[in-house]
Subunit: 387 residues, 2 copies
């Protein structure tokens, strides 16, 4: 096991009717800005529940945070926060709203002489404070509700970049599985794939004899395999939605990645696909991961064999056949969830691969993966294999 520091201070309020207890989590005199996306939280009644819970409190709102939240939109919220002296942010939505709100929180008080895009350029290293935030999660997927990371897109340049800062870790996260009942199947499917790949990024590397982390990761993967398809088939099965929601949070709160190597190349290659072609985040992961696992079979051999056995029950046949079967099963799982796994499924023929590699180069993504050996040349092979 590698050395690690793990800090998971976000208070989790999980279950039915937890939104009602929201007000106790926010300082009594706070000037609160509720942030959200489009109209779904209005349609499904979540925003009404939030307003009821905050009755009598000093509340304003900012809406219109888009999927893959953009700097351009978020800077309008930053202006509002500064003008109105907002001192608590409440994100109501999925990972994009939470990520966007983290950026607002960090940008509002960022060094006056810097454009806040600098936060992304420096991956959050120079953030020295942020407005406190909490969230009401409506879409289990990104884990953003209880971690320090965020991914922001710049519309005018097509850049999709991430930053990390402990200052933007949410104070609390309300997770009520019933608010996910009304989500479109595509969003549930994306969330399950996203959580699955988050887990894989921290698990399918090389062994460091970290038995607990491995078994926790396998526990999340098995749960998502079992209950992901059921979440589509039985949208109002509370237990299933609860298991998916809790898995997605634990997949990226720091716990399973503490003390083990991490990969994240699938995410980096995927971000460029979203930024250039507008694919859903999870779609890009479903495209890149199988191709990456084939490419990195040698380096990931020991963990691929463990994954094949413990997650897919593959114990017979040669080692190579078990590894191939596990990768094929992973691809088939994404397809079962309704998320296609080839560029061609999205009407992309690979002609943009040189431009994607240029973007990776621009973003300094030239030595990715747990061994920093995914060079641009390797990334090119992965993109090509994903056609």
């Amino acid at each position: 096991m590698q050395n690690f520091v793990l800090h998971t201070p976000t208070k989790i309020l999980f279950g039915k009717n937890q939104i009602a207890g929201l007000a106790q989590q926010i300082p009594a005199k706070a000037h609160i800005l509720i942030t959200y996306g489009g109209g779904s939280v209005k349609k499904n009644g979540v925003l009404d529940q939030v307003y009821s819970a905050l009755a009598g409190r000093n509340v304003q709102e900012f809406s219109g945070i888009e999927p893959n939240p953009t700097y351009e939109t978020l800077m309008k919220a930053v202006e509002l926060v500064r003008a109105e002296n907002i001192d608590f942010l409440l994100a109501v939505g999925g990972g994009s709203v939470v990520d966007g709100t983290k950026f607002i929180a960090a940008a509002a008080h960022y060094t006056a002489d810097r454009d806040p895009w600098h936060i992304l350029k420096t991956v959050g290293r120079e953030v020295t404070g942020a407005i406190p935030l909490g969230c009401v999660l409506t879409l289990p997927a990104t884990g953003s509700e209880s971690n320090i990371g965020a991914v922001i897109t710049r519309k005018n340049s097509g850049d999709k970049q991430h930053f990390h800062s402990s200052y933007v870790q949410p104070k609390f996260a309300v997770l009520d599985p019933t608010v996910t009942y009304s989500l479109p199947p595509r969003q549930i499917a994306n969330g399950v794939v996203d959580a699955f790949v988050h887990t894989i990024e921290q698990y399918l590397t090389y062994p460091v004899d970290a038995k607990v982390q491995d078994r926790f990761a396998e526990g999340l993967l098995l749960t998502l395999l079992e209950d992901g398809p059921r979440a589509l088939a039985e949208p109002e099965n509370y237990a299933v939605r609860a298991n998916v929601m809790w898995s997605a949070t634990l997949a990226l709160n720091g716990l399973i990645g503490a003390g083990v190597p991490q990969d994240w190349a699938t995410h980096m290659l995927g971000h460029e696909l979203t930024a250039m072609h507008g694919l859903d985040h999870a779609q890009t992961l479903a495209i890149v991961l199988p191709a990456l696992l084939v490419e990195k079979k040698t380096q990931k051999r020991a963990k691929l064999l463990q994954y094949a056995e413990r997650v897919w029950g593959l114990r017979d046949g040669s080692e190579d056949s078990r590894i191939d079967a596990a990768i094929a099963a992973t691809r088939a799982f994404f397809e079962t969830m309704g998320v296609p796994t080839r560029l061609s499924d999205y009407q992309l023929d690979g002609s943009s691969i040189p431009a994607l590699l240029d973007k990776l180069h621009q973003h300094g993504m030239t030595a990715l993966g747990e061994h920093q050996d995914i060079t641009l040349e390797v990334s090119q092979r992965i993109y090509q294999a994903a056609r």
Copy 2:
């Protein structure tokens, strides 16, 4: 899954040489009291490491906190804290030192007109503040380093009682597996049994379709089964000690118990054995648990079958035979760890059972377990079966 609130704010600093970074975790101007037990942290050099890390800081010490820390000893520290205006407590030791330090933290500023034993009588409900504390853990076992609970013994009355308060949750816990190399085998064995039973208390109840919690618990149990005996056989195997240490912390930081029923009857029956006969805490758990599982076979049936299959690989034979085999294997595991599982192994013939039941009655422990159906009569049968 049941509703839950989960808050795990203790920052974990895990690995080799983490003690060296201690000073950064404590406010610069703090007046620190280091608390510890006997001489082992002096002999093994841990106390020296702590003093080196805190060079130049304002530090005093209080030693002599015993296993099963007593109110009588701890009240001396409370006087010292009050007299010297201590404002940070650093526990250096195992669960007893951490538990004792939590009591000191809560008692030092407890309502002036109350004797702090009142904290135990009211299970911590009336604690409204505490001196902040951190810890350097030397013995993986109780999980106290990252939770809100503590168990305190009153010498003059033979009472062993617990309290809980979020105010005594450690700010940080330093977990360096190398400091456990010098522990006597009995303490390692006790720690493994303690962590194993903590996990069982939150797992072997009845199913609520909480797949992640179940798999995480099973992951801890499997790790302790594999690496517990190896921790005895290979005392300086870093990976093994690291896995045991991390398992013990995660067994009782709130995570695996969030959203599931919990039992804890084994602990309550065990506490009376320690208080009356001076048995090690883990010894009492090893005595009570197998007898309790036999007694509660019907109520725990579904989870016992899951435990038999997933933890012990028992898939063949009748359901009853698998359950019996799982309970027998659990007992055999404790014995393998060198912790005997019968009262008679400790020269106890059961003649104190009436007195033990009187103590349970005095402490209000008359409806224990996840169904609150372990009455004094049931407890009597369990004690008798454990002879």
